[in-house]
Assembly symmetry: C2
Homo-oligomer: 213 residues x 2
């Protein structure tokens, strides 16, 4: 089966729909139209209609979508009801920020533990545990871990990645600013903040130049 191609911009809108639908008072009309949602969220009518059609099929012409159905259709589409077990490697400031952020759980991600080469960071009492790196393989073997989050410095990232792959990790969420080489069966999603930042700064520079000329 070929994976559906869903644009990231559409994926980006779906959580907003969900928040909006869930935020409506309990006694709100059980039906809701794409037009109402578009207005509330300051989006195009046609865009919302199309998104909802992909996720939930077309609403009824006159009555729109049934609110509860729409909520569960979006959640199923985004696979929020299943949980992916993840571990995080590199429990520095960014790593700990990601570990301590509860918000990912609604998106179906459970960061079980963090690992760090610096054993002074080891903790088992408060917050999510942090283990020394040498326990990585045993932990992965014991638990069904499918996703690894890499938040180590750039020069350590490939080595960590190789160890994760050897542990049977299927997907890597990479925050280190390097390209990772992985076998074909492993998925990688990289967050390169420096690239986003540079893109923003370059736009700013070009715009300022344009304003001068």
């Amino acid at each position: 089966m070929e994976a559906k191609k869903i644009s990231k911009t559409m994926l980006g809108r779906l959580p907003g729909y969900l928040n909006y639908l869930k935020s409506l008072p309990e006694d709100t009309n059980v039906n809701i139209s794409a037009t109402t949602m578009a207005k509330a969220l300051n989006l195009g009518d046609v865009q919302v209609r199309k998104d909802l059609a992909v996720v939930s099929g077309g609403g009824r012409r006159k009555t729109g979508h049934l609110r509860e159905t729409l909520i569960s259709d979006i959640e199923n589409f985004l696979d929020y009801n299943n949980t992916t077990n993840a571990i995080l490697i590199g429990a520095g400031k960014l790593g700990q920020a990601l570990m301590d952020y509860n918000g990912f759980e609604v998106f179906g991600l459970d960061i079980l533990v963090g690992f760090d080469i610096d054993e002074s960071l080891t903790r088992t009492q408060e917050g999510k545990p942090i283990y020394p790196m040498e326990e990585l393989e045993d932990f992965c073997r014991a638990r069904n871990v499918t996703l690894g989050i890499i938040t180590v410095p750039a020069n350590a990232a490939q080595g960590v990645c190789d160890r994760l792959v050897a542990c049977g990790i299927e997907a890597i969420w990479n925050f280190a600013p390097v390209h990772l080489n992985v076998p074909d069966h492993v998925l990688v999603q990289s967050e390169n903040l420096a690239v986003s930042l540079t893109a923003l700064r370059m736009q700013l520079k070009e715009r300022d130049k344009a304003a001068v000329e």
Copy 2:
């Protein structure tokens, strides 16, 4: 003048070229070819050649690029030699991770201070200062701040954004998982980690489905 359209994937490769060129031992040949770089970085020959041509013009047929020239051309292209003054709003864990990360400075970003609505976070002694929100306008007026980083919860982000725009901020780097409405002259770059995560999880799910079928 129209801003050059540079792909993000190309922007993503340039820092890698820079690291590689800078990492070469001092006594390395002063000339370097796209082929050598492509091999070292595990990239396509043609791709590297094209990237370097955009940034630095074509190398000489036989001798390739002069290493020092290439380094400064890439740095200029990425505008790393100028500094953008930034402030950060929302000094929670993610906010503090970004503030304390020294790595952005090489990319031309200087996060001067953070602001937070929680005054118990106020600090002026160690690390980058954190000020209470009420000092935002005065600070922006006093310093030449062009970029605002938003790391507040989703429901507070638009309010913070409006205040930044009123302060004359020209670009916003948004980490809150919401769409921000800004006037046309303000640039926004959003980092939506939940979207990246969901995209990764959906690919994983589709692939596992494909493997079963």
